[in-house]
Symmetry: C7
Subunit: 87 residues, 7 copies
């Protein structure tokens, strides 16, 4: 079973391992419990600026949280995505 | 007697059995009393991104609740629908 | 004397007898005092999705209430109408 | 001296005698102190749905109140007018 | 030195003498301290519905108050002007 | 080092000496601490209604305050400018 | 690893050394802890009024703060940028 976001929605998984990358970008301590980083797992038909697989940053408290097989996911609006981390 | 949603409204029934699917997607415990998942029973003329019969996710507290023959229904706006679950 | 709603307004009477129909759709108990169902008695010139005589559902607390010859009426906006009940 | 409403404004006098008409439409008791009914005395250039002389209903608390020769007037926006009473 | 309002702004002086006119229109007692009537002294380039010299009504608490040679002026937006008093 | 406002921003210095001009326009006493008058020092590319060097009035509490070589400046939006003082 | 802002987002680093420039522009004392000045490190595709490397001013409390290799960054919207400091 899969989830297909509607319209301008973005489906994002939390990628815990991304939190200590070689590039050194990390979330500030105070925000550790509520990560702001994730991996795009699916996008709605109106989403033009993102691709599945990209690592994105987004504001804490954005989106709707759901859980699937023990992993936390967020469904965000494209406008809540701040940008993309590239290697 | 049937209900035809107006314009951008979506008529959704709660499908309790969908809550423990093979795919493992489920609503977090804290949200159990107010499910976020349902089946599209009818759509307004302006709804283009959904079809009757699809299983959808939506934010808790969205929409207007009505009851028909013991089943709970919600009347949501299309923009309150987060996405579609597909097999 | 008649009432002609302006623009996108809808003039609705409460049809109490509609509350126990053969189809079984009814308003939940907690909402009984403030019915959400009514009959369209008049529509403004901008209302395209409704006809006089249709039975409609609308959110509690929507609209402006007036009384005429002992019957309660509501003047709603078309966007407050959730949908139409059909036989 | 006369008052010419600007743009989408509607100039309305309270017509107390209209409150007990042959048709029986009246304002509910609780609203008696703040009538919701009036007569259009003037309209702004952008007002297309109303004519001077028409009896209109409007929401309590809408508009700006002024007094002229002992009569109370309201200056409303066209969108605050709910509809027209016709004979 | 003169003041030229920008865009949709209207520059208004309080005309106290206008408050007891032959036509009898006056501001209700409770509002006496904060007059709602004034004379248009200047208009911005986007103001199309008013001319300099016209007597206008406006909502109490609208606009920005300034003082010049002992006279109080208001700088309002055109949309805060309710209408024009004509002889 | 200079400051170039972006888009619809206006860069304004407080011109204290302008406060007691021959024309007599002045800010009311209560507002003396927070002058509402200034001189346009720079404008963004989208600002069409103002020129550098003009004396403008603006609402107290509008804009963002910065300090440069002991002078206070404000960065306002064009829409916060009420008008221009001309000789 | 790099960060690419999305759409109208601007990625800004705090340039502490910029705070005491030859031009003398500086942030007022009360705002010292939360600088309002930074250097553009990246821009989204919709940002037309800024270039990477420019020194910009922005309102305190604007944007989302992240930390990378000990430096604080902000992700702002283009509309939160007040202007550019030029030599």
């Amino acid at each position: 079973m899969k989830f297909k976001p509607l319209k301008d929605r973005v489906f994002v998984s939390y990628s815990e391992e991304a939190e200590k990358t070689q590039g050194g970008l990390y979330i500030p301590d105070a925000a550790k419990e509520k990560p702001q980083k994730g991996k795009v797992e699916g996008i709605g038909d109106e989403v033009k600026s993102l691709k599945v697989g990209e690592i994105v940053l987004f504001d804490k408290y954005s989106g709707s949280k759901i859980t699937m097989e023990g992993t936390e996911y967020l469904i965000l609006k494209e406008e809540d995505i701040l940008g993309v981390l590239t290697a």
